[in-house]
């Protein structure tokens, strides 16, 4: 029996969500059809939109369903950039941070390469805090040239939280739209869209007990963006394609139930997490908790294991039935050095030695105990295997 401690990668489908999903998968109808079958499915879709809007704390018309977080991020970044450029060609700067997920970094770099965008990366400190004072100073000189700012609400690897409200306040002086990738944060900390001042916010179903393949971009009513996908004009014309009513329904239910439990779960998971951190420090001296001087999400514990390679730790823990992560793996499944740690100014050795433990609905004390009892053997082996050597050509 394996112990799953990788909720940030994906979370188990909640049982009631599975039932709901299956029920609507069985329901015939295209939400755009005029006949009764179509209308029934449309009704389900719009119920889901309204329900999800409550969890997100936004207007129902602000919910644009997508195929997931990556699509949401792409739509927000490219869509906002193109919209801004159309209105004012002088706005070429995109501000973001090197600690963002690749689903944000890569579209931005794509725009730099293919569409003459200028990228400005906000400095990030040793603990993962995005330097908002620097941002304020930068905006005071270049604010009028900025097309958009994209900063994640909470980091998917380190769990470090950024003060999004502060970001939107700074941006507001120059009327700069702000997008936030809230995929890691949504359902784990308070993320009121209405209070955030954001133009757009990405969220994803499978991080909160919903199915994989469903997400949403929350786009404020005041915000316009250029669509990436053209066709039938669904979803306020921002995302054409037959709408996934069963997915939307399942997402909405998963979000509702996750948000309903948020307060209790925050306390429970934080206690479990703190216990885990304490126990780790007892069984090994080489693990260092990341983001000690930063606000962090309650269910995340991210460590750097000095002298270890994350993929060795991962392998040795997996062999003992413990499923954790080094952070985000690329398409080929390679656990290279974490770009997040590198952006935090850490050394290559530190960036290689990451291990992320994330908790969720089914996590228990027994899971923590199992992890702690498997850890010493894994650390011993990983220390022996060492980190990828640089410069040694034996």
């Amino acid at each position: 029996m394996s112990v799953y401690l990788d909720y940030a990668a994906t979370s188990p489908l909640r049982p009631e969500v599975l039932d709901c999903y299956v029920e609507y998968l069985k329901t015939l109808g295209n939400p755009s059809s005029v006949h009764t079958a179509g209308q029934l499915v449309r009704r389900a879709l719009e119920e889901a939109r309204e329900e999800l809007a409550k969890s997100v704390d936004c207007n129902r018309n602000e919910v644009i369903f997508t195929s997931g977080g990556t699509e949401s991020n792409n739509l927000a970044i490219k869509g906002l950039f193109w919209q801004q450029r159309t209105l004012d060609p002088a706005k070429k700067i995109i501000i973001s941070a090197g600690t963002e997920h690749h689903a944000v970094i890569d579209p931005i770099e794509w725009l730099e390469k293919h569409d003459a965008a200028d990228i400005v990366w906000v400095p990030v400190d040793y603990d993962g805090n995005v330097d908002l004072n620097w941002l304020e100073v930068f905006l005071s000189s270049k604010g009028s040239e900025v097309a958009l700012i994209s900063l994640m609400w909470a980091n998917n690897e380190t769990g470090v939280i950024t003060d999004i409200k502060k970001v939107t306040e700074l941006a507001d002086k120059y009327s700069i739209p702000v997008h936030s990738d809230a995929i890691a944060a949504f359902g784990h900390i308070e993320t009121s869209f209405k209070d955030s001042g954001l133009a757009a916010m990405s969220i994803s179903a499978h991080k909160v007990g919903g199915p994989i393949g469903v997400g949403a971009l929350i786009v404020s009513r005041a915000t316009k963006l250029v669509s990436l996908v053209h066709g039938g004009g669904q979803e306020r014309g921002m995302r054409s394609g037959t709408m996934n009513a069963p997915g939307a329904k399942a997402f909405a239910l998963a979000a509702t139930n996750t948000i309903a439990e948020l307060k209790a779960e925050t306390q429970r998971l934080q206690e479990l997490r703190d216990k885990l951190v304490e126990e780790v420090s007892k069984v090994t001296a080489v693990a260092k908790l990341t983001g000690q001087k930063a606000p962090r999400m309650p269910h995340n514990a991210h460590f750097v294991f000095e002298g270890c390679s994350g993929d060795s730790l991962l392998f040795l823990l997996d062999q003992q039935g413990i499923e954790v992560s080094t952070g985000s793996a690329c398409q080929a499944g390679v656990n290279g050095p974490s770009h997040v740690l590198v952006a935090m100014g850490r050394s290559a050795a530190e960036a290689y030695g990451c291990l992320r433990v994330t908790l969720g609905t089914d996590s228990s004390e027994e899971d923590i105990t199992a992890f702690i009892s498997a850890l010493p053997k894994a650390v011993e082996g990983a220390l022996k295997a060492g980190i990828p050597q640089t410069g040694d050509s034996k």
């Binding site: 993929d311 390679v334 990983a382 050509s393």
Partner: protein, 382 residues
Amino acid sequence: MKVLAAMSGGVDSAVAAARAVEAGHEVVGVHLALSRMPGTLRTGSRGCCTIEDSMDAQRAANVIGIPYYVWDFSERFKLDVVDDFISEYESGRTPNPCMRCNERIKFAALLEKGLALGFDAICTGHYASILTDDEGNLELHRSLAVAKDQSYVLGVLTAEQLKHAMFPIGASASKDDIRAEAAARGLSVAAKPDSYDICFIPEGDTQDWLADRLGSTAGEIVDMEGNVLGQHAGAHGFTVGQRKGLSIGKPAVDGKPRYVLAVDVKSNKVVVGPAKALAVKELIGSKYTWCGKPKANAQEFFDALVQVRAHGEQVPCQVSVTEDQMVIKLEEPILGVAPGQTAVIYLGSRVLAQTTIDSTVSAVDDFSSASASISGSVNGAV
């Protein structure tokens, strides 16, 4: 035994892993990520390193029913194989990157990591056999499938590395057998084309690739007497024995084709001449290793066979070694041996030793003085 099966995504390593499982070992599949920026799809026969290869390896591991992981060796690969390849060419030598990869990545970095993580052996899809002599010493031998034999590129393995190596397909008669077995096992890589180019040069054009990294300065193409015959766009990338791509307008007096005899990177000259001038009768290497148990009394010349390229012929020779040199006297001269190439010494089918060739002695009397000066300027030692 706990066995780490290195899976490239090709058919050979997939069948090797499957056979290791059948032999009763506890097998874990691992794909080596050798590039941070892998291409998405394989194009034709070009090496490995693509995401498609990684996915093929994973799919094979799933079908075989073993756990699968991808381990990042891109740093080591860049330093020990790619950078080595560039610097060898930069000094006018012709390296064998597959050999370096076996020596420093698969049977060094990967093996060390595997041993540290609790494994006993590395299993690969190389065509070679490990046999045991009467005293229980491990020996590396040519594979049964002579046409596919890869013992040459494994010549760098030491006795210690052989102890932890496993080549389950070395006893197969042919590649066709392996493909048939893969198909019977339901492995979709059964019909995947062989890779035979250098895996980190995706476009397949070594000369262009080197020019991008080393720059290219036009220089002279000269004959053995130093007469200028033409111009080249950059000396790097010319290989001793190369005939094509010289673009010399003027034909030779005797009307016969001309070959690259030497690449002198210092003076940026490429020396060309007739095929017979390529003939060498002696090979000298300063660094050598024994593959398994060393030969006794090897300071005295002994009869052996030598192979100087991956799919080359073996040639009878006499070999002797001192502490820091191996001398190989060839019974019959061979053509086109470049410094940097590896000479692998065989006793029958057994791989005995290997050395990287530092210099050669010409077999042609009237070329010996020219050869000496070329060799000296290229290698700094004659």
